[in-house]
């Protein structure tokens, strides 16, 4: 009789529901991080593309630091660092104990790392847009914000999409790190199941397969978005 099917089944004998719940947490974390990371990365790219040297330098320090640190270390730095900082601030106001939400800490850490890489992608996309586009927009009398929104952004998305899709796949995999700070994502649930049942290979194998399935689904989705973004492109 196949025990592994029982182990993976839903209900009291199996670990199916725990793993499904973990999968939802993993996906939720990745989806919640994405807009935050994209926005931050876009701002950093604007700063790096600026004509103001101090702004460029400040942004490049940011990306050098967060691209150079291991993701795991960034996670710990933010998880423990913010907690200690908050504690110190609270102590000034007469004490109290806070515990920062680990989901939130994971989201910040992953978002910061994502944004550091995304800013490079956006920057090279900016460089792929010729000065004539800005000049044309100016000749039409568009304001700077309108130029950005109507002329630059649509082209930027198309140019940045391949790089960003890559980063999305990296982000999806990086979410696995948050299991270390206690978030009950798919890897942590698999770990609990592995410890209880002593079937580590089975459960971690299933976790790996789940990540694979998500990367396949993502690739299909990305191909669709790319087709949509390239609709207006002539080439």
């Amino acid at each position: 009789m196949p025990d592994w099917l029982t182990l993976l089944s839903f209900g009291p004998d199996g670990w199916g529901d725990q793993i499904a719940r973990g999968t939802l947490v993993t996906v939720g974390l990745a989806v919640a991080t994405l807009p935050f990371g994209l926005a931050l990365g876009f701002l950093a790219a604007l700063a790096k593309n600026s004509s103001e040297p101090s702004l460029r330098r400040a942004a490049s320090i940011y990306t050098t630091v967060f691209r150079g640190l291991p993701e795991l270390l960034t996670l710990f730095l933010i998880y423990f660092g913010v907690q200690i900082l908050l504690q110190k601030v609270l102590a000034l106001f007469g004490g109290g104990y806070v515990e920062i939400n680990s989901f939130f800490a994971g989201m910040i850490a992953l978002g910061v790392v994502f944004s550091a890489y995304a800013s490079e992608v956006f920057l090279s996309a900016f460089r792929g847009i010729s000065a004539g586009q800005y000049e044309g927009a100016e000749a039409l009398g568009l304001s700077r914000l309108q130029t950005m929104r109507l002329v630059i952004l649509p082209q930027l998305i198309r140019l940045a999409l391949p790089g960003l899709s890559n980063l999305w796949l990296v982000l999806l995999k990086d979410t696995a790190l948050v299991s270390v700070i206690g978030i009950e994502d798919v890897l942590r649930q698999a770990g609990v199941a592995a410890r209880v049942t002593k079937e580590a290979f089975l459960f971690f194998g299933v976790a790996c397969l789940i990540y694979l399935v998500f990367s396949i689904i993502s690739s299909i989705g990305i191909a669709r978005i790319e087709r949509w973004a390239n609709k207006g492109a002539t080439r």
């Binding site: 600026s50 004509s51 400040a58 942004a59 291991p70 993701e71 200690i84 700077r144 270390v180 580590a200």
Partner: protein, 296 residues
Amino acid sequence: MALASLIRPVTPPNRPWTAARVLGHVLMAVWIFSGLATAYYLVNASGMDFLGRYGEKLINGFAVTIQLVVLSVLLGAALSIPIAFARMSTNRIIGGLAYAYVYFFRGTPLIAQAFLFYYGAGNFNQELKAIGAWWIFRDAFTCAVFVFALNTAAYQAEILRGAIQNVPKGQLEGAQALGLPRRAIFWRVVLPQAFIIALRPYGNEIILMIKGSAIASIITVYDLMGETRRAFSRSFDFQAYIWAALLYLIMVEALSRVWSRLERRLTRHLERPTQAAARTADDEGAAAGRPDATPD
């Protein structure tokens, strides 16, 4: 003086304080302040005390991290060569197997792979003992090297394959027209050029491996991250993480500097003086003359 102003236009003395400039200065001030605050935090009395107690351990961890990275990158490089050729094979079974290997190791998180092999190996300990491979999985360090090497081999195989396939076709045709034997074409014409194409991605892959090696600490290897975690759990002193961050940043920055120097050295025959001058002029233009896209 006159020559200098020809090359680089002198900046006008009074630049206006635009919003972008104010923001840039504020952000730089924040960075400088946090840098100084961190430095003060690390070198004051309690910082020195921490270093005295855990400094040597962190250095040992640093050495373990370097061993881990060097071993896995080298083993991975050796393993990547057959995988890359299998990927390019016209045999569908061989090509498919190599594709599956690469897809698995690139599509799943390194930490999940580490768990799968380190904890999962226990389920096969009889079989592994029978083939004499148990020693790899029994020890956390060798197991980490094993997993990292398999992982980086998948990435390196793709780098190698991409580079070989991106050597301009004319090079191959030229070599064939000269009547070179296939073996010579590959070793003397294609591979040297492929290595130059692959240089930058290889550097990035080593950096990714340095960063990824921190995961070994989760499967109980006392690398830099592992020693840091141990020091933190004993002292509850946040400095542990700051020191680790500095050491990792130094490692990564040093490698990327060395690598870009290596790249410049190895591609110096490709630089044409006129082209190089044109490129720097273009870079200057890109940095200074580009319309400012920062919304004020």
